[in-house]
């Protein structure tokens, strides 16, 4: 607005602006047609950034195969366990579908706006669909140290549970490496769209990819063990989140023991996936999500309802995707490394 003020105050003649934008001396002389063109060019140059055109999410090759196999052929827990992160990615793609989007603006107006200084950053024209395929490797570098550590931790987990032979391990590792690059690209795309928080959970995406590969490569018993362990881990995280949520409500509402159990149950029954993205949020009462009054009020007395209504809630906070994967959360400076050999299940 500071930059626009001289224009709005009429300090700079309109014809000069038109001249600068259109590059046409006729405009400066006030001829009608070029002025119209100038106005159009100005309109396009100052058009706010549009969201990319929506496209239906394209399933990856193995997912397409999965779909072709039909529901009945899928592993029992697969119908419900498509990772939250993957659903979130689809949501990112699908969300703008509500209204039609104007065709992409060509790059030319932005080049001219360059003459006016830093406007380009604000009035950046829409990026064409598919432009994110050429994400420069430098942009991916920022994500790789954490994602590599995450891969080490998840491969360690897989080896601990399944003890794959070296050849199978190499193929599983390769699948993991491909997945973390794919995650890094997804994060880079989101950052390009100016999204800097609420990224899909990398751990969930990676373990989903490893699970798919494990189903393909490992003996059925080992693959089942891995699947069960992943499910148990997710369930444990969910239970921990529900327990913390109940503690926060108890501290605030002084629940009776009977109410405590009822609230814990209600939290479980009304579970929302995004509540469990990062447990750290429950260390800050005022930011912790809790179920709405429609869920809790029937379990509370009038005083507790009043207190719940007045509970300070500053909305959700995001700690960043690095904190969400929690590889370095404790700040101890020591990260997990793989063992050369993993003991068998019985030895563990």
């Amino acid at each position: 607005m500071i930059l626009l003020r001289p224009l709005m105050n009429g300090f700079i003649p309109f014809s000069l602006i038109c001249l600068l934008v259109t590059n046409d001396p006729q405009v400066a002389r006030g001829e009608e047609a070029p002025v119209k063109a100038a106005l159009q060019a100005l309109g396009e140059a100052f058009r706010p950034v549009e969201k990319p055109q929506p496209t239906p999410p394209q399933p990856r090759a193995e997912e397409a195969d999965e779909e072709n196999r039909g529901e009945a052929d899928k592993p029992a827990d697969d119908k419900h366990d498509k990772p939250r992160a993957q659903r979130a990615e689809m949501a990112v793609e699908v969300a703008p579908a509500a209204r039609p989007v104007a065709p992409a603006v060509e790059a030319a107006p932005a080049r001219r706006i360059d003459l006016l200084g830093g406007f380009r950053a604000v009035f950046q024209p829409e990026q064409k669909k598919g432009a994110d395929d050429d994400i420069p490797p430098d942009m991916l570098k920022q994500f790789m140290p954490h994602l590599n550590k995450l891969l080490v931790a998840e491969i360690h987990f897989l080896r601990k549970v399944c003890q794959p032979d070296p050849e199978t391990l190499a193929r599983l590792r390769q699948a993991g490496e491909e997945e973390i690059v794919s995650i890094a690209k997804m994060y880079a795309r989101l950052m390009r769209k100016n999204q800097h928080s609420g990224f899909p959970d990398a751990r969930e995406l990676l373990s989903f990819a490893l699970k798919k590969k494990a189903e393909e490569l490992l003996p059925a018993a080992a693959a089942r063990r891995y699947r069960e362990e992943l499910t148990a881990r997710t369930e444990a995280g969910k239970q921990a989140t529900q327990a913390m949520m109940t503690v926060i409500l108890d501290r605030h509402l002084a629940l009776t023991p009977q109410q405590y159990d009822q609230v814990a149950e209600a939290v479980g029954e009304n579970w929302k996936e995004d509540w469990g993205q990062n447990l750290q949020v429950f260390l800050y009462d005022e930011y912790a999500p809790v179920p709405g009054p429609d869920v809790l009020n029937p379990l509370l007395n009038d005083r507790q309802r009043e207190l719940l209504k007045d509970r300070a809630n500053h909305g959700r906070i995001h700690f960043g995707w690095e904190q969400d994967i929690a590889v370095f959360n404790w700040g101890v400076g020591v990260a997990l490394e793989e063992l050369d050999e993993y003991p068998g299940e019985e030895a563990q």
Binding site: I2, R5, P6, F11, I12, L16, I17, L19, P25, A28, G117, A153, K160, V161, E229, A232, R233, A236, G237, A240, T241, A243, M244, T246, V247, D250, R251, A254, T256, P257, Y260, L279, Q280, F282, L283, D285, E286, R303, Q304, E306, L307, D310, A312, H314, I325, A326, V327, F328, N329, W330, G331, V332, G333, V334, A335, L336, E338, L339, P343, Q348
Partner: protein, 282 residues
């Protein structure tokens, strides 16, 4: 100038004066705007606006705080505390009235402090330094209100000991112990889930670790600030003998765990310092 004369696009020569004038005007407007912006920034850096309701909002940390809302919350909490005491059974009206009076004493004491702070705080533009000093005074009040006005150290708790019969007192203490234990167990589960970010555990490891922590350690008297809760569990874990803890982990996992436990050993000291500071402020 030679370069311009030789330029094949003759329109550039006709437009050049206009462009130069415009650039000059933009530069001059910009410099003036930037100068104004600088002055505004400088003012903003030194002065902060304090609204009438701001002290209450800062203490009760609710952007929707209205005058009296904190007091309503405090009264509701006292009534809920009294309801909890009644769960032990056989609480006479006289006992309840005595406890209620003590609870009101805590509320009165707290809101006297709030009122004192409000009166001594000017509204309107204040220097940043003064604002920061004010914040130092608000912090312990906020912490006290958040923890509850009728917790350990309060008049309510002291009166509870002298008002309830021995049997009632034991029942109430049991009720409180159970409550703390429920909280502790929940925080242990959450802390273990958080550790799993660095050390992914199998179901068996997870179960063994949670059972070991909950069996071998007791809930702390205080968690300090709420953001310390998981670190308190690490501190508690550091008290478990190594020969019991180590067998749960693989060799590489134990290395990370050791580093974590090392960190936990400092937590107790930090929490004590925080509690002492808060008590001094109070």
């Amino acid at each position: 100038m030679m370069a311009i004369r030789e330029h094949p696009d003759s329109s550039l020569r006709t437009r050049l004066p206009a462009v130069l004038v415009m650039v000059a005007m933009i530069v001059s407007s910009l410099s003036s705007a930037v100068a104004q912006f600088d002055v505004r920034l400088a003012i903003d850096n030194r002065m902060v606006n304090i609204g009438e309701n701001q002290i209450e909002q800062a203490i009760f940390r609710n952007s929707r705080s209205r005058t009296g809302q904190g007091l309503e919350q405090a009264i509701n909490r006292l009534e809920l505390q009294l309801d909890l005491v009644e769960l032990i059974g056989d609480v006479s009206d006289e006992q309840r009235e005595t406890l209620e009076l003590a609870g009101w004493g805590d509320i009165q004491r707290f809101f006297d402090r709030v009122e004192l702070l409000k009166r001594s705080t000017p509204t309107g533009q204040v220097p940043m330094e003064e604002y920061q000093q004010l914040w130092q005074k608000v912090r312990p009040l906020h912490a006290r209100f958040n923890k509850g006005l009728h917790g350990p150290g309060s008049l309510f708790r002291k009166t509870l000991r002298t008002t309830l019969t021995e049997e009632q007192g034991e029942r109430f203490e049991q009720l409180e112990r159970d409550r703390h234990r429920r909280h502790y167990d929940a925080i242990v589960r959450a802390a273990v889930a958080s550790i799993e970010g660095a050390i992914p555990l199998t179901s068996r490891q997870r179960t063994q670790l949670i059972e070991l922590i909950t069996e071998k350690t007791d809930p702390p008297e205080s968690y300090g600030q709420s953001y310390n809760q998981f670190r308190v569990i690490i501190w508690k874990m550091s008290q478990i003998p190594e020969e019991e803890l180590k067998p749960i982990f693989l060799e590489n996992e134990w290395k990370v765990m050791q580093a974590l436990l090392q960190q936990g050993r400092f937590v107790e000291q930090q929490i004590q310092q925080l509690d002492e500071l808060e008590d001094e402020d109070w």
